[in-house]
């Protein structure tokens, strides 16, 4: 489903532009994205068709990753505070962790993006960016919702037991800083596309939308034109079971990180 303008304001967002002065390129531990060997654009169309035919896209894996059912989209909108939690930037990364686990066929566990965002922001309703949450999750993990429910910012949830559980869902390898602050944005898109073609989800920050989402698939929107299918954090009632397709310049990330390897289970 192509995302239309009337779908953009459905829920809360929360992305704030990354402060590159305080958090410059390279400050987040990861493999340098320059090492990504790009899959040539000439191969994209054929690969996408093959992935669609074999139902081997991340979106396909998501639809069967919960014991044969779909992994539900996390929702940053419900709960207190009039349903407006600006925590998209933690949901996008948490979704990516859940998809990495699903691709490995690890058991489905609903994880708490609120634990990450509320802890980073000390319970405040504030925006952030994807790399910020990935950096936190890489260090401390993200807990099962049994330990820290979604839509809950009570820091008392953060017990030792909670964070011991969170460590079971840590990424140990990631591509970070795919996007440069200003330039080589085409390269950024190609890096993202390459990862998506390898079934690696990408956390995508989009300044035009003030939103951070999880990219799942590379999509050929028209012959030779490419976009991305995203998993949004506005519940499954938004778009097509919580997903939608961004095309053209709207699909080019302003910031992007990609967890690749997580603790096995």
């Amino acid at each position: 489903m192509r995302i239309t303008d009337d779908m953009l304001g459905y829920g809360a967002t929360g992305l704030i532009p990354r402060d590159y002065a305080s958090f410059p390129q390279g400050c987040y531990a990861s493999a340098p994205p320059a090492q990504i060997k790009l899959i040539p654009r000439t191969e994209w169309s054929e690969r996408i068709k093959d992935m669609e035919a074999t139902k081997s896209r991340l979106s396909d894996i998501r639809l069967r990753g919960n014991y044969g059912k779909a992994i539900p989209s996390l929702d940053q909108n419900s709960g207190r505070n009039d349903g407006k939690w600006g925590y998209c930037w933690a949901h996008s990364t948490t979704h990516a962790i859940m998809l990495v686990r699903a691709a490995a066929n690890m058991p489905y566990v609903p994880l708490s993006a609120f634990a990450v965002a509320a802890t980073i922001k000390n319970g405040r309703n504030e925006g952030g960016w994807g790399a910020q949450s990935l950096d936190f999750i890489t260090e401390r993990g993200v807990p099962d919702q049994r330990f820290w429910p979604q839509n809950n910012v009570n820091l008392a949830n953060g017990t030792a037991e909670c964070w011991a559980n969170a460590a079971l869902y840590k990424p140990v390898e990631a591509w970070a800083d795919l996007a440069s602050p200003q330039d080589v944005r085409d390269l950024t898109f190609d890096q993202m596309a390459t990862l998506l073609l390898q079934r690696i989800p990408v956390v995508v920050d989009l300044y035009w939308w003030s939103h951070s989402v999880c990219a799942m698939d590379l999509v050929e929107t028209s012959p030779g034109q490419f976009g991305i299918r995203i998993l949004n954090s506005w519940s499954d009632s938004w778009g097509d079971q919580g997903t939608g397709v961004l095309a053209g310049s709207k699909a080019i990330p302003d910031g992007a990180v990609a967890p690749t390897v997580v603790v096995a289970a």
């Binding site: 066929n105 390898e173 390898q198 390897v261």
Partner: protein, 229 residues
């Protein structure tokens, strides 16, 4: 020095690539660069190291850098203990290379298509794929990725794999995945970290396969093991 390679040949009798490697190594002592002459003695170490690098990389390259490191480490250690290296150069080289081969033969996954002779224990069908995700290159081919993550393979594995807490027992893991939280069976099989990747491990407790991930025909290989066809 005659290297006794027969036990290793027996072990890898079905694997043509291994036999070729072993033949090469058996003849290594006659390599001109390795003849122990007085003139050669003073320069023995760099020449020996270069020769080992050349042969090890060419012949044992598929086993990874650990083999080469092991060879060099062993040679250096013996050299320190035996200063008059010139008189024993070819013995040391032979021993070092043989040690490397023995080490590698115990660790390396055979390149041949035959299932491993020892059945991997399991209470039902289990499948593990070990691969590399962050090396900078797509180390799975497009065909492998489509089959591995596709609905057809998932359907078969979901229907046939044994269950662990309701989860079908198959995993596709990066070779560097921390395994401390995984059930013991997966931990045991991930001792394959030093093996060639991508690696496929299939067992149903009666038949098993541990070897390279096919580039096409992954499901057929799994069915071959599980159904004996």
């Amino acid at each position: 020095m005659a290297l006794n390679l027969e036990p290793i040949k027996q072990r890898h009798q079905r694997e043509a690539e291994w036999l070729a490697i072993l033949d090469e190594c058996a003849n290594l002592e006659s390599h001109p660069a390795l003849q122990p002459t007085d003139k050669f003695a003073g320069k023995v170490r760099p020449i020996a190291l270069a020769a080992i690098r050349s042969h090890a990389e060419a012949q044992l390259g598929q086993t990874g850098p650990g083999v080469l490191a092991g060879l060099l480490g062993r040679l250096s250690g013996v050299k320190a203990a035996v200063p008059s290296l010139s008189t024993v150069t070819h013995w040391l080289l032979g021993a070092a290379i043989l040690a490397g081969i023995l080490w590698a033969s115990g660790r390396k996954v055979g390149p041949g298509p035959q299932p491993t002779p020892n059945v991997i224990p399991s209470d039902g069908l289990r499948v593990l794929v070990v691969y590399e995700k962050t090396e900078g290159a797509p180390l799975l081919t497009a065909k492998q990725q489509s089959e591995l993550f596709g609905a057809e393979l998932a359907g078969y594995l979901n229907a046939n794999c044994t269950r662990e807490n309701s989860q079908p027992a198959y995993r596709f893991l990066d070779k560097d995945s921390p395994m401390g939280n995984a059930p013991k069976w997966w931990q045991d099989q991930m001792t394959a970290r030093g093996d060639v990747v991508p690696l496929l491990v299939v067992t149903n407790g009666k038949r098993s396969y541990r070897g390279p991930l096919p580039d096409g025909g992954i499901l057929a290989k799994i069915k071959e093991v599980n159904e004996g066809k």
